[in-house]
């Protein structure tokens, strides 16, 4: 297991790699990726029982990145943890590359292809049911965006998750407050998201999704309640790590130009 004190360095490295990906490829969604760097780094370094050597192990934990548009950050993290060579990142979104703008399961380390929102959680529920019925001990985690919680399919799935008492399921919501057209609170307010998931029979905790201490203390306590799925609502900042990207809708779409790239890199390396 990776030492707790090294997590910040890993997060920094993942952000730098992901920024290189979107700069070279002119691809989008860097802001959406930066909001979940700490969550992904934590999951893969200290919580999930997965590693390159366990990629096909039937008892491994399963993770699904339901917000598949955070691909650059996810792939940077998988490369950081040696699921595939770092050089693959140089060809992100290029023809012939396995690494595209949304997550695909033919990439080493990826369980499920995503990109259309509202698919990851129902699949995770199916996996959690599979594990329960087979009396297996592995856990299932799924990371969603907050805008994604507008999809009805997620509520169908939560309904089933609590009915089936899936305490082997951990649902993480990247609550950065921004979706594709603006702030979530201006589009379909969900300030009471925790009450909604509680009403659906889930146990929940709120955390600061950029603070490793906070993240670890809460993840260590899963399942929060026996017989209930655990939902972690992680308060995050879209574009976290680069001052001019933080909490800005435009960085859902934009790729940095050379000046912005150099400024961003300087900030990331100075941490």
């Amino acid at each position: 297991m990776i030492k707790f004190n090294n997590l910040v360095k890993y997060a920094q490295s993942v952000r730098i790699k992901a920024l290189n990906c979107v700069y070279k490829s002119k691809a989008s969604h860097i802001g959406s990726g930066f909001s979940c760097v700490e969550l992904l780094v934590y999951l893969y370094s200290r919580w999930l029982n997965v590693s390159p050597s366990l990629a096909r192990d039937p008892n491994r934990d399963r993770f699904i990145l339901s917000k598949g548009h955070a691909a650059a950050v996810y792939y940077a993290m998988l490369a950081e943890f040696s699921f595939f060579p770092n050089e693959w990142l140089d060809r992100y979104c290029e023809i012939g590359s396995l690494l595209g703008g949304h997550v695909q399961h033919n990439v080493p380390g990826v369980e499920i292809s995503t990109g259309s929102l509202g698919h990851g959680l129902p699949i995770a529920v199916g996996m959690a049911i599979a594990a329960k019925r087979a009396q297996k001990k592995y856990r299932i985690a799924v990371l969603l965006s907050d805008g994604e919680m507008e999809c009805g399919s997620n509520w169908e799935a939560l309904n089933m998750a609590s009915a089936q008492k899936l305490d082997n399921l951990t649902v993480i919501v990247d609550r950065n407050g921004l979706q594709a057209m603006g702030f979530t609170e201006d589009i379909l307010p969900m300030d009471n998201l925790e009450q909604r998931v509680a009403a659906f029979g889930c146990a929940y905790k709120l955390i600061d999704g950029h603070n490793f201490q906070d993240i670890e203390s809460v993840f260590k306590r899963t399942p929060f309640t026996m017989g209930k799925p655990s939902v972690i609502i992680a308060k995050t900042i879209k574009g976290r790590g680069v001052s001019f990207m933080e909490n800005k809708l435009e960085w859902h779409y934009r790729s940095p130009d050379t000046v912005q790239y150099e400024a961003a890199m300087k900030e990331l390396k100075n941490i």
Binding site: R62, H105, I112, H119, I123, G126, I129, K136, I140, E156
Partner: protein, 305 residues
Amino acid sequence: MRTAFLKRLVNLARRDKRICLVVGDLGFSVVEPFMNEFPDRFLNAGVAEQSMTSIATGWSLAENKTVFTYSLANFPTLRCLEQIRNDCCGHNANVKIISLGSGITYGQSGYSHFAVEDLAVMGAMPNMTIFTPGDPYEAEKIADLALQTPGPAYIRLAKNGERRLSDKKYSFGIGELIEYKSGKDVCLIGIGSILSECMEASRLIEGDISLAVFGLPVFKPVNENLAVEVIRKFPYIATVEEHSSYGGLASVVGEIMSRNRLNSKLLKFALPEGFDKIGSQPELRSSCGLTAGQIAETIKRAIDA
């Protein structure tokens, strides 16, 4: 054919522990034997077809199961089409979608319950095998075949009471045309429960015109070489289906003929686009020229013309 299929599925599930069944709150009085015998391999997903389909995918992938989903008409297909495309097909998962109520089986229930674009839509899904049994015998065989064929499948069932198309026992492979009745003037190809009308049409026209009747119990992928061998022997081909005239059997047969430069004349019997009448299945067939008598009459006129 629904009962025959589900009985066979229970039998298979006794031997094959991979088989699971997820229903969308439908199947009252037919899925209970499976539910009671294999409670650990059964789930009622509720009226929630999107999550039903994704749950089936997750269950299948995590524990290497063959998961059947079950619902009516368009509910397990069109309602959750992207879940089928991205989740089942995209991961080539062993999820077998059973839809009860092919075509206008539920005629009195109306437009919402007509599965008449399903072949066009499901046919476009990658890795998807499509089963279209014509009678209970074929439905039973298809339970085995679906299990042996890896990847996603769509199984299009009618309800109950279809008569056997042939007295013989026979087996069939993927995409093979099956001959129920020989003939030399016209080759009639049908799919699903409407094959009973085709058989009757052949009988009605006997003496006048020699009508061969073929079925295609595995609709996709079609065995094109075999189809070409059959089609090229006949001056007239007629396709009969309870499906829209777009993207179903007529389209598949027409494309094969065109690609292989077969010059037989093609007559198509299908439902008009946007069909939304109410009535029993026989009444609705009659309103679209799909009864045995109407099929026979139309073919006769086409040949006499």
